[in-house]
Subunit: 429 residues, 4 copies
């Protein structure tokens, strides 16, 4: 039986004050959708079945190279983090898995499994880390990891990824995500061809150890922490990697990892068309890899990404990309941000499901650009909040997760147990 | 025997006043390079053997959607254009071929051959045009050409490319360059997957007609004339195309066709490493596809591109990318800009040849980022103008092409023959 | 009495089939807003009073430097254009004025006034043009206009602006908008300080001729048609201009004229705070000055701009910025695009009016970032289409302007009268 | 008498092996410049008189939010930092001052003065820090400092800046530099007008305490650490600040703090023209605020900035902008990077001094864009290294600072005294 961290009576009380309005709104929306030939319950059921993973590191307060300002009740370890994830899952009913980051989340695998299953949580992809040095590590990643010029360093980085696979096997993960910061800060610092050759060789060693029912996700990023060049700098290089490695290798798309102005939804389409779309790290950005809350800056872009995903579902068999939030919460309570971000991802999905694809196709084939874009806008304009809220409520979640979370007093409670972290500056400028 | 448009005595007179200084500068530079273990004559010989093609459209004054301000003596047709190209070739000795654009340059192929061979000019890649409607054309390219939803439109665009190949065969071209403006201006206007499928199918038909000793170059561009999405938007899509088509298909890189901040030299390296670097459209840009003179905005970037090319020459067999200028001359005499741009491309090549590759490799392998980047900077800092000037002079060109061109009075002479074009606004805003 | 181009019975018939649903949707939305303490009729009245100007050039098909693909029934002159504008005004009831562009729209002022008043249209700001050469013009603007190095050229450009003011006085305009393309294509081509000095001097001459009840709007733009530098490149320079000129000088903001990633709503706030926000050219963009339909690419950004405007209304007295659409319609019927764009501007305004400003202020003062941003999102998520449609219907416009326009057959009718324009390429690449 | 950290005999020995070649290169360059009418010694003397400040934080290894990889012999405190700065000054003779950052560099002012004067170093601008929380600080800067909604927080931030002025007075600084990270991460989190109002009020309090012979520098930055909006986001806002505060307030330009593609040299010109150019933080960038070594990514841009400065010197009286390096050295020995960066700043200055300004002006006035840009290119192409090296040698510095530094064994020596810092990950992602 699933344990509940937030007392279900709190949720019930909060829902009680909102249920009547929700029913009215759901019904009137249902009627409007019915006019468009859409069955609201069918949409709601798809939304209810949708889940996005929460990364373990997301529940702690993030920071920048300038400073980090911790909040109250910061999780002390992976077990605290799992509890925070359980709160998110309970209130939103939209985040059924947790994604671990090694070495930070290393612990007895059986204890990990047990901790998660208490709350009926599963484990999503394993994340390795070779962008910083762990204590006691023999070789430094200062000049690269999987693509380093130095063989011993590459071997250490390979070994770390193999360990992540091992841990993942024990706890029931089915994927490894590899993102590295390798690159260079000066023209000439590395030879691009040699460095990429090293990277491919290292990845082949990791791929060879991947269980048959696993997937390997590689993630591209334009820059940061390297500021002149990055090994896996864009989807073009990412595609080359996935193709070189084999059928279990796929490309991961983080919405904040592209050059300014790039059309990301088109990249999604290309990768899907060529069978290499692995999944997403959802977040939003205005400038660079800002890791802001999904949908908080450009919600229409998030919708356009989901428009591609819904389209792809109808085109390609065995199409099931992974979904994960990957955000840095610097000025909000991470639990609050993650709850609303999960909802915003669901919102984009629900809106994409509303697109009249027959009308859209007709307009496209007839070169009726305006009618085509209006087919998208009509779906996007629809306020689907009643659908999301109904899906949550029917599964035991909160109609209003934010209000309910605040009403529960959870943060204050854990702040009593978890020690305050001194505000500190990284002093890195 | 090669005809000369500029009287050789003009060149001789201009060179005479500069030759003594050139010899001093060449010798003192030679001595400095000797200290670094570099033989200046070897560099000069490589520079002398280097050529970059001039596009026929480049010798006319360009413009923007806002206006075009023609200069005096604008070429009236392809034969005038060939004469202008001959002037550039004569003075710079760096531009041995002309690249035609169909339908604008359509003419009796034998007359074309004859016109070029008078000046010992060859023909570079053929360029098709399906980004605008030619007079009398049955189908419009308003909504796309090779990727259009409408089959008749696609067929017409294929047919046009086949015609370009036919013309090229007659005049001795060995390549076809395909750049299209197809894309969309609104989210939803096109289905990305369908559109790209159409494009690939069309290109396969064209590829099938390509002679065995030809190459097919496809060119990517982020945006413009389409402002929401473009079919061949980046090197990732361009690579997919070249791989789908086959061994004669290669990717063309225009330096102004990328997203802001993108590391272009790295794209050059990736394409070379995977055997798909076809060549370049050289120019420079600050904002978008500005088509400014090569090396006029960021000369170090041009050097870094050539640094990759020189590196690639030592790595890959059968590596011989095509070089062409592709610029829009809005405020200068196009002949002057093209002469100096050809020299700036040679300059970057000469500087890249000066890089001490052994020292560079040593620094890279030793993680000595500063020494590595200094190896590039030392080469780039070298003022190689005496090498370029000597290569020109020894082949009959001008030590100072700009001064010599101006002294020749060429522009005033053709302005007497070629009628003035009324300044006109396109009225497109 | 106002003439109607579209037969009112067509509108009535189209509205008849939609009115019942509209009433239901309006009422249910009203009820939801009521729960939030918002009176839907008050919002509707504000929306009904809102108007955005249509630029005369907007009703013709646009183009790029690569090509222009005219549609059927292109307006032949300013009188055709006024008729097209009247259709937009009739169906949307949101565009009460037309903005003229001289010299293209030059005609007998009395005839202009008469033509507009037939349809109860007024005239918005006058737009001068010195970015292209008009026939017969003595000095060319190839190297600049108001900021040119050559005094005769500057004087001619000043004179042209004075003429625009004169025309405007006759027809009842109350503002002059000055946008110039002056800049440079090469480092060193101009001296920045000298060029800006010339510009300021020229503008002072124009300002001196401005009637007391007029406003002078200057518009900044990052680049294009100049590709290295632009005289009025950003809001910083624009602000300096408005301050140097005097109290009647204001800054105009075109949403597509900024560097990538720039926070435009913040610029709006700064200009408003320092009393220099003149108004807007509405459109949307993904890459540069794409001139796409307002709200078609990033509708949330448009909302955030209006959020600033609604906030500013409560802060500053005498705050009444000008609103104009400035778009290029390359693949759609311009009338259709302008109708939907006017609605999308109204939509952003309506959504901004829904923001609970008290709750927002409370969240801001309490550093509750999440609650603050949710206050915006709640307003933005609201589908205000019933409010817009009701405002249109009640004023005699169409519930669904696009469907009604198509049903009216207007385009086909004018295509019979207005001759087809041959598809032509500008040949400028 | 000035103490020397590097044994002068080491410098002499290193110089001895290079002096003969240097004299040859200096003389042949002198001859070439003489042909252009330039006296090489005059240039050398200006270069010798030029100095750029070193920031105290620059001599420590930098990092990113992902990780920091310390090097050997990291300075432990401000006194170690001053010694590292003394090494840079001794070898380059180009960095005569150090810029302190409070609170990190807080120490007994008399000890500070003594430590610096031992090496004949002065103190440049004081830098306050309110972008991170110092230990024991009462109010947190999590939600802003000088612009925070909370008055107590603003007061604390003001107080800190007043303290910086006090320290600066004691040690002989003549300027305060204020850069804050205040902004927001979500639309709506702050009210732009209120926030800027708070900022201006706070700055007025600081300005009021500024001694008469001091300058106040404010620094704009587009983003980071705030990712939706930043209070002082661009030069437009920065100019408003300097104007609001008064005659002692100036704008500081950091080359990496602008939007993509922005023309920075033009901003330099505008600020100089309106009397508000305070100075520079030199570095280079490819993507964002990358803080890479000055001139390492786009050396021509650095030259174009100095081209404006040399031009401004001839135009404006009392023009003496401040120069400081502001870089983050993540993969190099910071001393090495700072030495070469100082030289690259001098290089740009020397090249700018070579521009034939009369010829340039003539080309500009004659609309000869090509000749104008060639006047810049000719100066930029000149390899001025012999001038820089001669200026260094004549003042007791090293012909080749990098080789001499490495030969001195300084880093190994301090690594014996200064304890190794454990590689650590910030764990902030």
């Amino acid at each position: 039986m699933t344990e509940h961290i937030i007392d279900p009576s709190t949720i019930e009380a909060e829902n009680a004050s909102r249920a009547a309005d929700l029913h009215v709104d759901y019904d009137t929306l249902g009627e409007r959708l019915d006019r468009r030939g859409v069955n609201i319950d069918a949409i709601k059921n798809k939304v209810a079945a949708f889940s996005v993973a929460v990364p373990s590191w997301g529940v702690g307060t993030g920071g920048t190279r300038f400073a980090r300002f911790p909040g109250k009740g910061e999780p002390r370890d992976i077990f605290d983090k799992i509890e925070d994830c359980a709160v998110i899952a309970q209130l939103t009913q939209a985040t059924k898995t947790v994604s671990l980051h090694i070495p930070w989340d290393k612990a007895d695998p059986n204890r990990l499994k047990q901790a998660a299953s208490r709350f009926n949580l599963g484990f999503d992809a394993m994340n390795s880390n070779t962008f910083s040095d762990a204590k006691g590590q023999l070789q430094s990643y200062k000049f690269g990891s999987l693509s380093a010029a130095d063989k011993a360093t590459r071997d250490q980085a390979i070994e770390h990824n193999l360990e992540c696979i091992e841990i993942g096997k024990t706890i029931g993960s089915k994927a490894l995500t590899v993102w590295i910061g390798d690159g260079s800060n000066f023209p000439g610092q590395v030879n691009f061809a040699d460095q990429f050759g090293h990277y491919l060789d290292s990845m082949k060693s990791i791929y060879a150890a991947l269980p048959d029912d696993w997937r390997l996700y590689t993630e591209h990023k334009m820059y940061e922490p390297a500021f002149y060049s990055t090994v896996v700098q864009d989807w073009g290089t990412n595609y080359l990697i996935a193709r070189e490695l084999g059928d279990k290798a796929y490309c991961l798309v983080d919405l904040g990892h592209h050059a300014p102005n790039v059309n990301i939804e088109m990249i999604v389409s290309r990768l899907a068309q060529f069978g290499k779309l692995g999944g997403f790290h959802f977040n939003d950005s205005k400038y660079g890899d800002d890791d802001l809350d999904a949908g908080s800056i450009d919600p229409y872009r998030l919708f356009l990404v989901f428009n591609e995903l819904v389209d792809a579902e109808t085109r390609y068999s065995d199409f099931h990309p992974a979904h994960m939030l990957d955000q840095s919460h610097n000025v909000t309570d991470p639990i609050e941000s993650l709850m609303l971000s999960a909802a915003d991802v669901q919102r984009a999905y629900a809106q994409a499901l509303l697109v009249d694809r027959e009308a859209l196709k007709g307009a496209q084939d007839g070169n009726d650009a305006l009618a085509a874009t209006q087919a998208l806008r009509l779906a996007y304009r629809t306020d689907v909040e009643p659908i999301l809220a109904m899906a949550r409520m029917e599964q035991g979640g909160a109609i209003d997760p934010l209000a309910t979370y605040r009403a529960s007093g959870y943060r204050a409670k854990v702040a009593e147990i978890r020690p305050e972290i001194a505000a500190g500056s990284s002093g890195i400028v």
